[in-house]
Amino acid sequence: MKESNYFIILLYLALLSCSKEIEIDLEKVEPRLVVRSEITNKPDTVAPGPGTIFPQYIPAKLELGLSSSVTDDPTENIVDAKVVLKKNNFVYDTIYYNSTKEYYELFETPDDLPEPGDDLSLEVIYNNEKVSSSAKMPSKVDIISIDTSIYYSHYIEGTGMFSEGTLTFQDPGSEENYYELMVCSSGLYNGELNPLRIKTDETFITGEKHYPSEINTNQYVFDQKSLLFTDKTFNGEKKSVRFYFIIGGYKHSNTIDFGHKTRIYLLRNVTKEYYMFKTSKRTYLLNSGENFLMGASEPQNVYTNIKDGLGSFGVYTHDQEIYFFPKRTIQL
């Protein structure tokens, strides 16, 4: 054996780090309620026009879970809690689990949904434990236009095909605004929105730490279902955001068949707390997969606006436009 081979073997032995399970006395934590909740305004009623259909109602719902010590199993769904919802400091309703819909329905009818500026507060009581949160509905920011003209001018990335769109809106200059932009597939039958994977090249979004990209994480295929951004670089200006969203899988054939599709474009003006929760959760998920050799990140908690609990009481206003794209076959 050559002398250099001995060196390599020795080096390998040294660098071959080892792992072993260890026992550590971690204190058991008291389980805490985990809130998953979203409330938004009633969508505008718009007259059906070319390419558009009726607006999509977004139910105001709340789901509850229970945390646990790390070595135990957390509970995903709690169904026997009591929820007290207040609107503008008056009790709106006491709510129990709706086993048909499988969530706590905060506003049963769209007409009761809050308006921009309304104060909302939530109190959840479960097994003598109580958590609470409050928020103010942000102002509504309307979509001025959406350029969908290049819907079929797709590009292929990996196994996915992406389409392009550009959404334009007027940012209110008098306040800090936090936005979430989504494209969803139709949820007309089950009342649910199905957000599609979405990306952008806009540097005011891609430069943020929570934006998954080839640069800041190895997980650049991170399943991002919305774009989150603030108006700090365009406060008070009319702004256009270009984005790309997935429209299907690429099957390596010479033709691509686009079926009939309904796409719902949403612009949400969210509370700062909602934005902090979502961005911190996204950053957390991005960092949790980091390779230690290339620099593990600072440990971080996901933000919460639930007093004595975890999760998010998410409140936002939104504007939406719904487009129908007829089927088409494209030769590559």
Partner: protein
């Protein structure tokens, strides 16, 4: 007014104390190489006057009329007795000492001034000879690892050359190579430092009682002085080790007048690639120095250092249709310094330094895809660094046997590049984008200092003040930093010392706290991020036994630091388009305190030390941990170190080091929940758990043999002799169990979540071969 008066007194009073004394002054040299000797002692027995040579080997000794013999001694050299000619008022006398192989022999003659009575505290200086004999990892001799064995100094993790002094961050250590700051001292992912043992003459680590000439960092000063080169004969030395191979050549340019030394290191074996993890890691460094004795009064030096580490990680691109990803990191320092020593008569010594030091860190990311359907190129480069151009002028005035005065001015021009970003994307189906972000900022730091050393025998006092002025655009900071070290000497061999130090730091370091490769971003003080300020009280009791053969010390300290910064959780500068100061938590406070005990055996065949430290370092940020105090990442309440070096004879020696430390704190999640299908860990407090205690025994054996062609030394080191599995980091992972799927097969089912410990280096022998001819 009182401040001005104080400064005037400090500067002017001693000038009145020039007396009509007889002075000898000059340099102390190694007889075999003409290398100047630092910390040599020159003393007269009748008058009991004695001095120590400074960092340039210079001394100035006042003698009484009866003094006719002086004795000169230095570590590693034979004691020399010199009869003086009839003294005139002042004579110049360069002294040459003969090296000896063994350590100090027992001597009866004593200088009259014990080590413990010197007006310094919190100072450690480990002779290079001992550093080379201590056990090492991969055969790499490293002064930083040696200092990590001293009280109050913690390592940055297993095998790391990062160090943390008295609870301060790594950025709070001033690291000087030939009086010039280096901003990053890590090679090879931090496994060893940039200080090449072949070129180092002397090192000193100061933890408290900082002399006024030092500043700009809060926690410590590591002063490394390089050799000047043998001006008598040409010598080569080198070593072959597992991680690096090095070669140094030194010799005369003009015999006995001018010399040079050049030393370089490379890692010839691409270790990470060999173990198959895709990383390609290389480093190299080069030290060079030229020294010219222009006259008896003037010496010129030109020093150069350049070191670079580069890591490449490439994946994909195996075929034309697969995209390729390439990450490249590179970092390093470049330093060039010109120095001029000048003697003004026998009482005044001056040094002028002009320097340029540059640290840069570059991250490159490249994504390439060239398939039948898509063509994309994405390139991103992040450049961060700092360049200093500086001027220093230092004057030492040896007024009489009891009073010295140090004066100086510094001026440093900093060019900071916090996070320059260049981004470019081109492709068939994406928009062509090219953008760059220029973040360069210039700042000027001006310093003036003055310090007086008064030695009355039973009491010595070193008092000074340092004034610093920092200018960035229209922003200006001015700070006065009082310094005091007092030593009350009693019962001949006891000493009680107190020091008080105020320090300001105008540059900040941002680094990810993970265990990964270096990611050092040096940031300037600006209007949003004020300078960090540190205040330290230190008190110590010292006892010398058997004429400094043994020294016992007990030092306590209390240190408060404010305006420190660190990344906000989850923040990164990568891709950051806003101002860098938005990514950091500001106005952090650090409170650290501790008690350090040390027993040293300084002479004899068996020498070394035992130390024990109790210390705490606690941090507080308004927006972190809900404002609650949490332990610093390298907070180690208890640490114990044992260092023993045994010289069996002139050719063979053994050494042993053992260290014990409480486990470092880590942030461990204690709670878990599910949100929209995602499992999320949650922790209550930052650094809420401690890893297991750390302990390790290393041994080393050195065998030197004279050969016809020169001298060779085999070194065998065993790291972690009893194979302790020390924690490097912890992580959670679910265990999986194979469960029958009912169809004759098996499926992996997620089981319990368990906590695992990763250990890096277990029992590991290493060898190195060094030579000199």
């Amino acid at each position: 007014m009182p401040r001005t008066l104080f400064i005037s007194i400090v500067i002017c009073l001693p000038l009145s104390l020039f007396g009509q004394q007889k002075i000898i002054s000059g340099y102390l040299y190694d007889k075999s190489s003409n290398e100047s000797i630092i910390e040599g002692v020159i003393f007269s027995i009748p008058s009991k006057n004695g001095v120590t040579t400074n960092e340039y080997g210079y001394y100035s000794l006042r003698l009484d009329s009866l003094d006719s013999i002086i004795i000169v001694r230095a570590y590693g050299y034979s004691d020399t007795m010199i009869s003086l000619p009839k003294l005139k008022r002042g004579i110049s006398l360069n002294i040459y000492l003969k090296p000896k192989i063994t350590s100090f022999e027992e001597i009866d003659i004593y200088s009259g001034k014990m080590k413990v009575r010197e007006d310094e505290m919190g100072v450690m200086s480990i002779p290079m000879k001992d550093v080379k004999r201590m056990p090492n990892l991969f055969g790499e001799v490293d002064i930083i690892k040696s200092y990590q064995m001293t009280p109050g100094v913690q390592s940055g993790g297993e095998g790391s050359s990062d160090y943390y002094v008295r609870g301060g961050g790594a950025e709070q250590n001033l690291m000087l190579l030939d009086d010039v700051p280096l901003y990053n001292i890590s090679h090879f992912g931090g496994f060893f430092s940039v200080f090449n043992s072949d070129i180092i003459k002397n090192t000193k680590l100061i933890k408290s009682g900082f002399p006024s000439q030092y500043g700009g960092r809060l926690s410590s000063v590591l002063d490394v002085r390089s050799k000047e080169g043998n001006s008598k004969e040409l010598i080569a030395q080198g070593a072959v080790g597992l991680l690096s191979t090095r070669l140094a050549v030194e010799g005369p340019i003009v015999k006995n007048k001018a010399s040079f030394i050049v030393s370089g290191r490379i890692n010839p074996i691409p270790v990470f690639r060999l173990i198959g993890n895709g990383l390609n890691y290389h480093f190299n460094d080069l030290n060079a120095k030229v020294n010219w004795d222009v006259s008896d009064n003037d010496k010129l030096f030109l020093s150069f250092y350049r070191g670079r580490d580069k890591v490449k990680d490439k994946s994909g691109g195996e075929t034309d249709n697969t995209p390729s990803l390439k990450n490249t990191l590179s970092w390093g320092n470049t330093m060039v310094a010109f120095r001029w020593n000048h003697k003004f008569g026998s009482r005044v010594f001056s040094n002028m330094t002009l320097y340029n030091t540059n640290y840069s860190y570059i991250e490159e990311f490249e994504f390439k895809e060239d398939t039948d359907t898509s063509k994309r190129n994405i390139y991103n480069e992040l450049f961060t660094g700092v360049r200093d151009v500086g001027f220093k002028y230092h004057l030492s005035l040896f007024l009489n046997s009891k009073i010295d005065l140090n004066l100086g001015v510094n001026s440093v021009f900093h060019r900071f590049t916090p996070n320059d970003i260049y981004y470019e994307q081109t492709g068939s189906d994406i928009e062509n984008i090219s953008r760059s972000n220029n973040t360069k900022m210039d700042a000027l730091e001006n310093i003036a200092y003055s310090e007086i050393n008064i030695d009355l025998g039973w009491l010595s006092v070193k008092g000074g003040v340092r004034y610093s002025n920092y200018i960035l655009d229209s922003l200006t900071y001015n700070n006065f930093e009082p310094r005091l070290v007092s030593s009350f000497n009693f019962f001949e061999s006891w000493s009680l010392k107190y020091s008080y130090t105020v320090m300001n730091q105008y540059i900040h370091l941002l680094a990810y706290s993970g265990t990964g490769l270096p990611s050092d971003y040096w940031m300037p003080t600006n209007s949003e991020v004020p300078p960090s300020k540190g205040l330290q009280h230190s008190i110590g009791l010292y006892k010398s036994l058997n004429k400094d053969k043994y020294i016992l010390s007990l030092e306590g300290y209390l240190k408060n630091t404010n305006n420190i910064i660190q990344f906000k959780p989850g923040e990164t500068l990568i891709g950051q388009v806003g101002s860098w100061d938005e990514t950091v938590e500001k106005n952090g406070k650090n409170r650290s305190y501790g008690l350090e005990f040390m027993a040293q055996k300084k002479r004899g065949d068996l020498h070394g030390w035992i130390s024990a430290t109790y210390s705490r370092s606690l941090l507080q940020f308004d927006n972190l941990n809900e404002g609650r105090v949490f332990p610093f990442k390298y907070d180690r309440p208890l640490s114990i170190n044992v260092v023993a070096i045994y010289d069996l004879n002139d050719n063979v020696n053994f050494s042993l080091t053992w260290q014990y430390g409480s486990g470092y704190p880590i942030t461990l999640a204690d709670e878990i929940y599910i949100h929209n299908g995602d499992y999320i860990f949650h922790y209550d407090d930052i650094n809420n758990t401690r890893m297991r205690d750390y302990h390790r025994l290393d041994v080393s054996f050195n065998h030197t043999k004279e050969k016809k062609w020169g001298e060779r030394t085999w070194t065998i080191s065993i790291f972690n002799l009893y194979n302790r599995k020390n924690p490097y980091y912890y992580y959670y992972e679910h265990e999986y169990e194979n469960v029958s799927d009912g169809k004759g097969g098996a499926e992996a089912v997620k089981g319990d979540l368990k906590l695992y410990q990763r250990s890096l280096f277990n029992f590991f022998p290493s060898f190195s071969y060094s030579f000199k001819f």
